[in-house]
């Protein structure tokens, strides 16, 4: 059973009384997220990532389409959905005059926690997000990194089955980003949480996500695992060979080879799938008596997929 099942979701924002302006944020988005997965939503600014996330989290009502989250319709049964999910934003903001622990406790009370259960939950989250030293510090005195950690702690107050993370590492220093990603991975590993995250960072998506959807202009252009996306886009893996003799004319025609370029005495073959094609190529070269002096395989990273799709 899917944690999220969204079909043909559309959303248009309208503004202005006299000169009406319309922005079509989502144009028929269909998406399924399996339970227990970390699902990444990638896309350039204004692609519709936050709009989609907000609809899934019941903060926005879709114009058309159906959205089922954890078996509940997000429009008709929003209250039931809200009990079981939570969200943290990269640019989170909370009341300036409250202490870190008071912010966590405030949101925990909204889910009915009180007394010892509340105190224990606050302590656990403070510890989990390494906020012990800062629990009595006012929100507006916290650094950006601490605010992000607090946002993550707040998003776990109800021990959600489904967690939305909107740009969770936005503006963080690299070392803090790495720890944040480790924490996110641990949440799924230890609690079996389904996590949907939006990000601009390809490395983050590649490292964390089981599946990724690329969204642009309110449409999902591609979805799948990182490897599947690379294959879908057809930018391929690169096999660089140093051969003796250097020129092998038939290489470009070999099965699965998309193109071949010769430079600095090396032949760079772009293939659809290096894992499958490399043994075939080596066998064929050996059969022709060509000596292979060096082989290097490079897989394209998601960054290249992003650039390709964002064009």
């Amino acid at each position: 059973m899917s944690a999220i099942d969204a079909r043909d979701v559309t959303k248009t924002f309208r503004a202005g009384w006299i000169r009406r302006r319309e922005t079509r944020a989502l144009r028929g988005v269909t998406l399924q997220v399996p339970r227990g997965a970390i699902f990444g939503l990638l896309g350039p600014n204004g692609a519709g990532k936050t709009t989609l996330l907000s609809i899934l989290a019941t903060l926005l009502v879709p114009d058309q389409g159906s959205v089922t989250v954890l078996g509940h319709d997000v429009v008709r049964d929003a209250a039931a959905v809200r009990r079981r999910l939570n969200m943290a934003s990269g640019n989170a903001s909370f009341l300036w005059s409250l202490r870190a622990e008071e912010i966590i406790a405030f949101y925990a009370r909204l889910y009915g926690l009180s007394g010892r259960r509340l105190a224990r939950r606050v302590d656990d989250l403070v510890e989990l997000c390494e906020l012990s030293e800062y629990r009595r510090v006012l929100y507006n005195e916290l650094s950006t990194g601490l605010k992000q950690r607090l946002a993550l702690a707040k998003s776990l107050v109800n021990d959600p089955e489904l967690l939305f993370l909107d740009e969770p590492t936005l503006g963080l220093d690299p070392d803090i980003s790495v720890r944040m990603r480790q924490r996110i991975a641990a949440l799924r590993r230890e609690r079996g949480m389904t996590i949907v995250l939006t990000t601009h960072y390809m490395r983050e998506a590649e490292e964390l996500c089981d599946k990724i959807a690329f969204i642009k202009g309110g449409r999902i252009l591609a979805a799948g695992t990182a490897a599947e996306l690379k294959r879908q886009i057809g930018i391929g893996d690169v096999i660089a060979l140093r051969l003796d003799p250097a020129a092998v004319p038939w290489l470009a025609e070999a099965p699965g080879v998309l193109r071949c370029v010769e430079s600095d005495g090396r032949v760079e073959c772009t293939v659809d799938d290096a894992e499958k094609r490399l043994p075939e190529l080596l066998r064929a070269l050996h059969a022709e008596g060509i000596v292979v002096r060096d082989v290097q395989v490079t897989e394209p990273d998601l960054e290249e997929v992003f650039v390709e799709l964002a064009r």
Binding site: F13, R14, T50, T51, S54, A57, T58, L59, L60, V61, A79, A80, R82, R83, L85, N86, M87, S89, N91, A92, S93, F94, L95, W96, S97, L98, E102, F106, Y107, R109, L110, Y111, G112, L113, S114, K154, N158
Partner: protein
């Protein structure tokens, strides 16, 4: 939602209001400075004009009501304004709470703060101008205060509605609307002196009736029949209407994206 969860969610908003109030200097001015300045200046004016005891009581009742209602109403409006100012609106509406938790929690704190203002001003009026709030007796005073706090609740929730609808553009209404209501309710004068159409509007304000009922204890004839019943009935109707309008405004904000615009 269980009763326990209902109470805990309401308490969450009450505690948040209390914490915010205790850490902001501005709240000290709201609680003490402006109300005390108001009663002193109006009280001294009654001396300058050589007003008799009943007239002085009439005006001071209005002045004390003004401060009490304002402080309580602002607390209710802050329930939404805090989140607008801190851009944290979406987080509370992501939780399975209702409008009732938000408004009741903040109203309870507003009632406490309003009561404190009332006591301070009552003591000041007693010793500076010889005006005794207890002359109306316990039940008379209690119903008057209830009327003040119900009116504050209604106005506060309508302000929350405007803020949800128009965002920060509507925040001035938190300070403006209560003054409009109080002018209509006749804080310094009987509503009978208002021009016809304005008097009709005054008759639609619950506080008008509570002021009328309270002033009868100070020697003034009632302007309305059954003022307490009418005031309570109007308050109940407006409370229902204001909460319905706030729920509708939040639903609209979920449709238009206003909820996200007011969040970080």
């Amino acid at each position: 939602m269980s009763w326990r969860a209902e109470l805990v969610a309401t308490w969450a908003f009450a505690l948040r209001s209390l914490l915010m109030a205790s850490r902001n200097v501005f709240f000290f001015f709201e609680l003490l400075f402006w109300p005390v300045v108001g009663v002193l200046s109006i009280g001294l004016m009654t001396r300058f004009l050589h007003l008799g005891s009943p007239e002085t009581s009439f005006v001071l009742i209005g002045t004390i009501a003004l401060s009490t209602v304002t402080v309580c109403q602002l607390e209710v409006a802050y329930a939404v304004l805090y989140d607008v100012w801190s851009k944290s609106m979406k987080h509370q509406f992501l939780a399975p709470i209702g409008v009732r938790h938000l408004t009741t929690g903040s109203w309870l704190v507003g009632t406490g703060r309003g009561l404190l203002v009332f006591v301070i001003l009552a003591v000041l009026a007693r010793y500076a101008f010889g005006f005794d709030v207890l002359a109306a007796g316990g039940p008379g005073l209690a119903t008057f205060l209830l009327g003040c706090f119900l009116t504050a609740w209604v106005v506060g929730v309508f302000v929350c509605t405007l803020v949800m609808q128009f965002g920060t553009r509507a925040e001035a209404s938190a300070w403006a609307s209560v003054n409009l209501v109080l002018v209509l309710a006749g804080i310094y004068y009987p509503v009978s002196i208002l021009p016809g159409p304005v008097a009709a509007l005054a008759a639609a304000v619950p506080l008008t009736y509570f002021l009328d009922a309270y002033r009868t204890h100070y020697g003034f004839a009632a302007e309305f029949a059954y003022p307490l019943t009418t005031g309570l009935a109007l308050s109940a109707v407006y409370l229902a209407l204001s909460h319905w309008s706030l729920i509708a405004a939040i639903e609209r904000a979920r449709r238009t994206g206003q909820l996200l615009k007011m969040s970080g």
